[in-house]
Symmetry: C2
Subunit: 418 residues, 2 copies
């Protein structure tokens, strides 16, 4: 069978299953999620065995140690996958909610009903735990899912999916609801991205290269973020102790993630009193500072920032620092170099706080808090399937509700158009 | 200047203007809308003169009479454009609304603020009044707009845009907020569709060919519907008088629009008592019926329906009719041949009504009412920028709210991640 036919067959099976999944009641979905969690725990020997093949191949290929670690399914990772599925079971079911019911002048009752999106394609890299996380969230929100993981995790992903599908069969969920593209052929992704009649939404998760490839080639709507170039702006009126805590946390607590700060903007009025102490803390933590000219007048031995530092996503212990004249320059800098991800202001000024919240166009805007809070769990969504910096459908962290849509429902009594 | 550079320049100007438009308060936007309405009325001689060039060119080219009529700017059409702008001014402003504010365990206050999408590209055909309608809706929702109309209406569209931009200048709205692609070069559309950094959303309006071209070539998110293959299902328990009124209205009242019925599904138990009287009415109205075999046992001289009739969007006085065994077959038929646009059930059965609303996946689902109500004005949105059958972002008729998105806003007191 050609890759094209194989992918089409998988997508059609997912579409067919999606009707059944959409109709499942909450209790049935929760039973399946609990069974999946159990299934993963009791199949841990099988999962680790299959995972070993991937790890050995990766090691033989000379993959970076950090990559191999991400790929590895330990008991701890398997336990976390199972716990994640149980947490998803405990979340409220978004499907079926009816809102905005209103009576029109002609007597029609018009409202909106929350429904699953249908079939969701997830295209991701290396971490096999995404297989279980994404499958659980899609099931809870009433969607069928097509999973396409990285080639380096193919055995692990197939093994996890096998366990999840078995749990579906045992609990009356159409097993077609969880589909894995079983081949590592890259053409399979291209074929997937053409199937707009079968797949309703694509969510790519991984590096910028993967995501650009998906956007470039997809006829199906894509929700994505390319990167997180997050800013903290320390305003002239900031509480400097608080600003130091936030700027340190946003850069250092976990530098390799998309909501870590990449550029620090500092109001010129407090730059001289603020930067030196923070700089020492950064130095102790191994952070390299790349400063604008005004920064380097204060921090003499900081690396000079170049044009490409503004807008860089380091994902590392490197930070660009710029001294700005005030709010206008800070907001303009973020508009020019930001990635619409997450920005924070540290200030005691009421008007500046409100203005920053209003005028910064990013998907998450904070006052007096670390950018690291831009995360589905931290913001109270209970889960996270990804983060969107596309303004369409969802903007910012996405939870279960973002895996649904709303249709109009109308109760009439025989009304016709005049 | 190359088409590429020209389009890029326009898109960048729109992007730049979008920041200013997003910050306008409601009163300023309403003043501009009122000025636009006045401007169109007082420029009617100029508009008709420019329009005459398009109409003459179209007539010379031998364009269909109906097309030439749609292209023509009469005093009535100009009056309607002005009235439309005033109506948009009277609608509530969706921008700035804050919802779902909640306190997290760590004290962070997390909510969502409704914001404009940014820059919206509208790609449309023939009717020049779309220029004013779309510009008005985008302005009211705080967006900049790039308008790309059909080549046959280029002089009319440029003239309308000129009047609208003048009204912007006179009322303090950045005139860059309304952009028209002034060339008819088709490459301009292709260039537009690449500019994902400048344009946030594309809404194509026109025939299926145009829309498929846009989806095929766009890197920017597209909200669209290809076609409306709307169904009415007359259930076995239907009030047959009501069913007749609805089935007649849905087909005949305005057959050329996307929410007109294209296929009538009839429960086998009432087909014999229901179809003959309706058939006579249809015949009087000039409707050609294309029936399945069971339909033709009852309506002997109906045209035999062929496979391609199911799923056809006639936009004309033609109707496909199928007798079905019941709900299951009706729902399965709609899932297979429908276009996710609009479907209606006529029934007196409570469970069937509820089941149809739940299980039919279309963007608008009605009980006991004509499909013709699937329209932003009829459903109470106050306006309509288009209809979406893409399940992402908006599903069904789209009004002002659908031209906005929501960002997370967070009030903190110095919180950092542990």
């Amino acid at each position: 069978m050609s890759v094209k036919d194989e992918v089409l067959g998988i997508a059609r099976a997912a579409k067919e299953a999606s009707y059944g999944v959409a109709r499942l009641d909450t209790a049935a979905k929760n039973r399946a999620l609990a069974k999946m969690a159990e299934g993963l725990l009791s199949a841990s020997a099988f999962l680790k065995e299959e995972n070993r093949k991937d790890v050995e191949a990766a090691t033989a290929k000379g993959l970076q140690k950090a990559m191999v670690e991400r790929l590895t399914l330990s008991d701890k990772v398997i336990g976390a996958m199972a716990a994640g599925l149980k947490e998803v079971a405990a979340l409220p079911d978004p499907v079926g909610e009816i809102t905005g019911m209103q009576k029109r002048p002609n007597g029609l009752m018009v409202g909106r009903m929350r429904i699953p999106i249908g079939v969701i394609g997830i295209i991701y890299e290396s971490r096999p735990n995404v297989t279980a996380d994404a499958a659980g969230l899609c099931l809870k929100s009433g969607n069928a899912v097509i999973l396409r993981g990285g080639s380096e995790a193919i055995n692990s992903n197939n093994a996890i999916a096998k366990v999840l599908k078995k749990a579906c069969s045992e609990t009356g969920v159409p097993p077609g609801a969880i589909q894995v593209i079983p081949t590592t052929d890259r053409d399979a992704v291209l074929e997937m991205l053409k199937l707009e009649d079968e797949i309703d939404l694509i969510i790519p998760r991984g590096g910028e290269g993967l995501i650009r490839f998906v956007v470039e080639n997809s006829k199906i709507p894509v929700i994505k973020h390319y990167k997180g170039v997050c800013h903290v702006f320390v305003d002239g009126s900031a509480d400097l102790d608080m600003a130091e805590r936030i700027a340190f946390n946003a850069k250092v607590q976990r530098p390799g993630v998309c909501n870590a700060m990449e550029t620090l903007l500092v109001h010129k009025d407090i730059a001289r009193s603020f930067l030196p102490a923070l700089y020492e803390k950064y130095r102790d933590a191994g952070v390299e500072v790349r400063g604008c000219e005004r920064t380097r007048e204060i921090l003499k031995d900081a690396t000079p920032a170049r044009e490409e530092d503004w807008g860089a996503e380091y994902l590392d212990l490197i930070l660009a620092v710029k001294v700005v004249d005030g709010m206008d320059e800070a907001i303009a800098h973020i508009a020019r170099y930001g990635s619409l991800h997450t920005e924070s202001i540290v200030t005691r000024d009421y008007n500046n706080a409100q203005r920053f919240l209003r005028e910064v166009n990013s998907s998450t805007v904070l006052v007096n808090a670390s950018t690291r809070f831009s995360d589905g769990f931290q913001l109270g969504l209970g889960a996270e399937i990804g983060i969107s910096t596309t303004k369409i459908h969802a903007f910012g962290p996405m939870g279960l509700e973002e895996l649904t849509t709303r249709k109009f429902i109308i109760y009439g009594e025989g009304q016709v158009r005049e």
